[in-house]
Every structure is written in C-alpha cells, then in structure tokens.
C-alpha cells in the first residue's frame, strides 16, 4: 500500500510528499514548424505537507502560487506528475478511476465561484441527491430525498427551496448549496478552494461559521486554500505559505502569525489590509517571476528585500527552525 518507505502516521488523514504538477502549453503544428520551444508551466514544485484528522490545514499565497493546483491534484481532478498522495493510509497517487471510486466518497471539494460551481440546469435537490444516489449512500430515491432535506436543513434551507434552480439564490446561498453537495456522500476530508473569496464580507462570516460547525458535527478535516490571511488566521490550525509553487514556510498558526521568519511571509503579513493598523511601508516591489522559467536559486530572490548572493544560485530547502519549517538562507 504505502510504497514511499515512510511510516504512515494514523493521525493524518492526508499526507502529501514531493508533489509536482506541470502544464504544457498547447503545442500545435505551427509551433512545431517554427521550432518554438515547448513551454512548461511549473505550477507545483515538490510540495510536502500533511493534514491531521479533524484539523484545518491552509495553503496561503497569491494568485499563481500553485495553491489551487495543489488542491485539485490532491482530489485527483489532475493527475500528479510525481510525488505521493497518501489518503487515509492508502497511496492513491496512481489509482485508476475505478479504484478512486470509494475514495471519492470520502474526499470532496468546495469551490471558489458560487456562480459556476452549480449546474444551472439542475434543481437544488438534484444537485444534492446526485452524489448520494451515485454512491448508493441511500437505498432508494425516497431515502435520498430525506437525507437531502436534512442536509439542506443543516446548511440553512427550507424544504420547499429544494425545488428551485441555482439562479434563484444569492452567492452565499449557492455556496451553502455547494457545501451540502460536498457533504452528500459523508466525506471525511474536504478541500475548500477559496470558499469565501467571492462572497460579501457579512456572508463570508456566515459561510466560515457554517464550515466550522460542520467540522465538529461531521468530524471533517479541511484543506483550506486562501489568499486572505485574516480568514486563514481565523479558521486554521496549521498553514503553509506558497510562492511560485514552493512552500516557503510551514507550521503552527500562532508561531507563524506571531513571528514570521521567511521574508515573504513577513511581507504578506505586513501588507494584509486590516482595520486596526495602517500599512507602514510596502516591503515588496515588482511581480512574481514566470513559472515557465523557474529561477535557479530561491524562488523569492527577485523580490526579496534581504537578498544575499547565495540566494541567486542556491535554492534553500525547508529546515525546521523555531517550531516551524522555513526555506530561507537567512537562517
């Protein structure tokens, strides 16, 4: 089962090691004729972390840092290029669709865009019942119907609303319908890809509270993908900060928020807009480098205010320091 040689820790629901994901840009006849080089986007470059049972683990970073790709690879919407995925002690990295079937029941996803994540032509009850019926979580349609109504009740809908279509609901309501769908097969693990970033602030709080209530009620573990540090601080136990497909710092929430070590984490925390303080100075200039041509050295070197010469040539590895892992030559 576990061919990584590492011991599986039964406390972990998910163990990801050295996960790599790349995309090749479309390469047509014309490109071949003109001899244009093939372009490969290095989206995720050897990411390792684990999610404990009943825990919220967050991956944080800016757009294009590979956090969503990581989540989508873990739930096997994308085939991993290399690395291993251990789910509930099983190595699912190379599972066929048929082998994935029982795993699918246990790992579901909450999506970012409440307007695109529900099939506009399905009624709410069909949306929630489809996974149940497919996985025989209910003996017949009648039982599925009862279960569906119970789930809708949990996420805050009245029974008569089950007959409506998605467009009759607001963004926050749709997100709750998406959560009900994710819960339909009694999963133990949910990957939530920016679940509140498309929502209004007041609705954001409702959805976050709901997600946390459900964790207690259904004994869920979450992989929480987000760019908003204040949201992450509120929900998570541990987190990893991603930059250009690498995890640059990873550990317990309080350690990282109280004393960030990596210059990128420091910058993110410094510029996160909050009500209680004004941003003193903007520590970062420039933009994220292209994931097509990865820098040889530290991925963050081009924007780092504390760059040294070694950073240009050697890529730092994650090292344990002060109760967390950090990849930086400063330490």
């Amino acid at each position: 089962m576990n061919n990584t040689g590492k011991m599986h820790d039964p406390k972990n629901i998910l163990e990801v090691s050295d996960l790599v994901q790349t995309f090749t840009q479309p390469y047509g006849i014309l490109d071949r004729l003109t001899g244009r080089p093939k372009k490969t986007v290095h989206a995720v470059n050897g990411v390792s972390f684990s999610v404990r049972r009943g825990e919220v683990f967050s991956l944080v970073g800016e757009s294009g840092c590979g956090k969503s790709t990581t989540a989508r690879t873990i739930v096997r919407l994308l085939e991993p290029k290399s690395g291993t995925l251990l789910f509930d002690g099983q190595d699912i990295t190379k599972f066929t669709p048929a082998e994935m079937m029982p795993v699918r029941k246990k790992m579901q996803m909450i999506f970012q865009d409440p307007y695109a994540s529900l099939n506009p032509r399905q009624r709410i009850r069909e949306i929630v019942m489809e996974p149940m019926l497919f996985h025989r979580e209910a003996a017949d349609r009648e039982e599925a119907h009862v279960k569906m109504l119970r789930l809708l009740d949990i996420v805050g809908f009245r029974p008569e609303q089950a007959d409506r279509y998605p467009h009759q609901f607001s963004g926050g309501q749709r997100q709750r319908i998406g959560i009900a769908r994710a819960l339909a097969t009694n999963p133990t693990f949910l990957a939530a890809d920016e679940p509140v970033s498309a929502l209004d602030v007041s609705i954001q709080a409702q959805v976050l509270n709901l997600m946390m209530d459900l964790r207690d009620e259904f004994n869920l573990s979450y992989l929480f993908i987000a760019h908003d540090l204040s949201v992450v601080r509120h929900v998570t136990e541990r987190l990893g900060i991603m930059y250009l497909g690498f995890i640059v710092e990873q550990g317990e929430r309080d350690r990282i928020f109280e004393k960030p070590l990596h210059p990128y984490t420091q910058a993110l925390l410094a510029v996160a807009p909050t009500l209680d303080r004004k941003i003193a100075a903007v520590p970062l200039s420039g933009d994220v480098p292209s994931p097509i041509h990865l820098p040889v050295g530290c991925p963050f070197a081009s924007r780092c205010p504390q760059k040294m010469s070694i950073c240009e040539t050697n890529r730092p590895k994650l090292r344990i320091l002060d109760g967390r892992a950090v990849a930086c030559h400063l330490y």
Partner: protein, 332 residues
C-alpha cells in the same frame, strides 16, 4: 468658488427591468472637498458602483438617472449635454476601473493610449506630450518608461497595468478621480503598492478621490471620510477613523465585526449578520436593514429612517444607533 468640489444631492438612479423597477441608487447625498479622499463602501447590490457611474452620467438603458443634482465646481453635471460631459470626463473627472485588462485597449500601445488623453484635453505639442508621458510613467513607478512606452497592455502584469490606468487617469490633472474597486483584482502585495501609489499621487496632484470598494480595510487604509451604502442608500457617513472605531449604524457595526482580525484573541465563531441582503425588487417597507438587525423595533419595520447628525461630523440613518455616548438604546 463653491464650498465643495462635489456636492451630490438626492441622487436617484433606477433600472427598469422586466421584473420591475430597481432603485439602485435611492436618494444619495454627500459632499467632497478639494483634495479629499472619500470611501464609498458596501456589499454587492449596495449601489456604490452605480453611484460612481451616475456622477459621470455613464448610465445606459435600461437604467436612468431619475432625480437629484450633482454639483461639480458649482455646476450641475446632470444638466449638461452628452457633448459637454465628454469634455469633463477625463479632463476634470477621470475614472479607474476594477479590471485593468478591460479598461485598456489591447491593440494600442500604452504610450499612445496616454497620448490620446493628452491630445484630446491639452494643447501640448507632440514632443511635450512625449515628455509628459515619460514623466507620468515614471511617476506611477513603471521601470524603464522609455522602453515600455511602445509596449502593449498584455506585456504588463496586472499590477503594472493598473499603474498605467492610473497614469492615464492622472494624465491631464483632473480635479476628481473616481476609482471603482481599483485593487480588487490584484494580489495583496500588489494591492498595497497600488494603494500607496494612489494615496501619494492624489496628494501630489491635489486631486480629490472617491474610492469605491467592498473592503473596509482598504478604506481604513487611505480615506479621510467614508460613506457606507446599503440597498441603494447611504446609511452612515463620517470621518474614517472615528467611524471604524465607533460605528453607529448596526449594519456598519455588523460589517466591521464580521471581518476576521489579524491580531488579538480568536473567537471560535465570527460575529455574523444574519440573513441576507434583500432583493432590490422586493425591499422591506421600513428600514432596508431592519429584517437583519438585532436592534430593530416595530418602528424600523414601518418607517424609513432619515440620515441625521448623531455626533459632530457623524451621520447615520438609524432610529437606534449603536455606540452613542450615553448608550441609551431608546435614545432618539
């Protein structure tokens, strides 16, 4: 010389749709002094963007401005012809939009897009314009402006594009800039850069700025005053610091409390505003916020509260404002 640069009185914009008439902006009043930065905040459907577009007369059918006055330097913009408004847009008032990709023409170099603005609204010679473009690009922090001037928008990153948009907005030194969610599409590290840049430039050029956003944290970062909108109305207005420290309207208070904090103790649950924004087709009879409000009474369900002065410089439209000095709940 008028006392205010901009004085908006009872502005109303509605959209006549198949399902009925939507009052997207319903009697909005506010003022803006020269050089002042005003934030308009609210959630989707609050009417903040429509307010911004209405000021410039950029409302297309099925929408129309159905009433009110917009005095800009003493003249009512709503009485101007389309021809006159075209001269005012860009020259006197310019706008920065959320998505820099759609507000720039993808087929035109950024140099010529700035040049277009200058040629239209100034008498500068071609050489002077060139120099001015270079100055502007330097000003907004684009490295090697002489090389970048001939680049197309797609050759810039999101943050750099928004800098170009800001350069265009500032090109002819407008008195007022309306920025509609200017940093929403950007990453936090870039957002911080752009906000700082806008704050500095507005100060340097002496323009006034209306910053429309859903993000109270962004507002608290750089505005002098803030107006909170809910369902087409301004429900609270006041100096930013004061308002955020001590919100009077229960909606403002709820919004502020529901934002997770970056420091201090964590609460297991976030305080949340219950329910959801009502449909604009079907607004409640009294105060639009009453059905979600923990302080609401019978009266709130019946009558629509007017904006009134609660403390110096602080107005709110609420019968039972929070955070009043004596904290007398029934105080009116």
């Amino acid at each position: 010389m008028a006392e205010y640069l901009l004085e908006v009185k009872n502005l109303k914009t509605c959209f006549e749709l198949f399902r009925g008439t939507v009052k997207a902006v319903d009697g909005v009043d506010f003022t803006l002094k020269e050089g002042e930065i005003l934030g308009i905040v609210g959630e989707s459907g609050g009417g903040k963007s429509v307010t911004g577009f209405s000021l410039l007369g950029l409302i297309d059918l099925p929408g129309r401005i159905s009433g009110g006055e917009v005095f800009f330097r003493g003249e009512d913009l709503l009485k101007k012809s389309e021809e006159e408004m075209r001269r005012i847009r860009g020259k006197e008032i310019s706008m920065i939009f959320q998505d820099p990709m759609t507000s720039l023409n993808p087929l035109q170099t950024i140099g010529s897009q700035i040049d277009e603005m200058l040629a239209l609204h100034t008498d500068l010679s071609s050489a002077e314009r060139k120099q001015r473009i270079l100055d502007l690009l330097t000003e907004v922090g684009i490295p090697n402006p002489a090389d970048r001037i001939n680049n197309y928008p797609h050759q810039f990153s999101g943050g750099m594009r928004q800098r170009v948009v800001i350069a265009i907005a500032l090109a002819v030194n407008p008195r007022l800039i309306i920025a509609d969610e200017p940093t929403t599409a950007l990453d936090v590290t870039v957002q911080a850069q752009i906000l700082k840049l806008m704050e500095n430039l507005v100060h340097k050029f002496g323009s006034a700025l209306i910053l429309i956003t859903h993000d109270l944290a962004v507002v608290s970062e750089m505005t002098h005053r803030v107006a909170v909108m809910y369902c087409g109305k301004i429900v609270e207005e006041g100096p930013t610091k004061d308002l955020i420290a001590n919100p009077h309207h229960p909606y403002t208070k709820g919004l502020l409390e529901s934002i997770p904090k970056m420091a201090g103790a964590r609460t297991p649950r976030l305080p949340q505003i219950s329910g959801m924004v009502p449909s604009l087709f079907d607004l409640p009879k009294g105060c639009s916020f009453a059905p979600r409000c923990s302080r609401a009474t019978e009266r709130c369900l019946q009558d629509v509260p007017e904006m009134r002065l609660l403390s110096p410089g602080r107005k709110a439209a609420c019968y039972h404002p929070a955070g009043m000095a004596e904290e007398g709940e029934g105080h009116e």
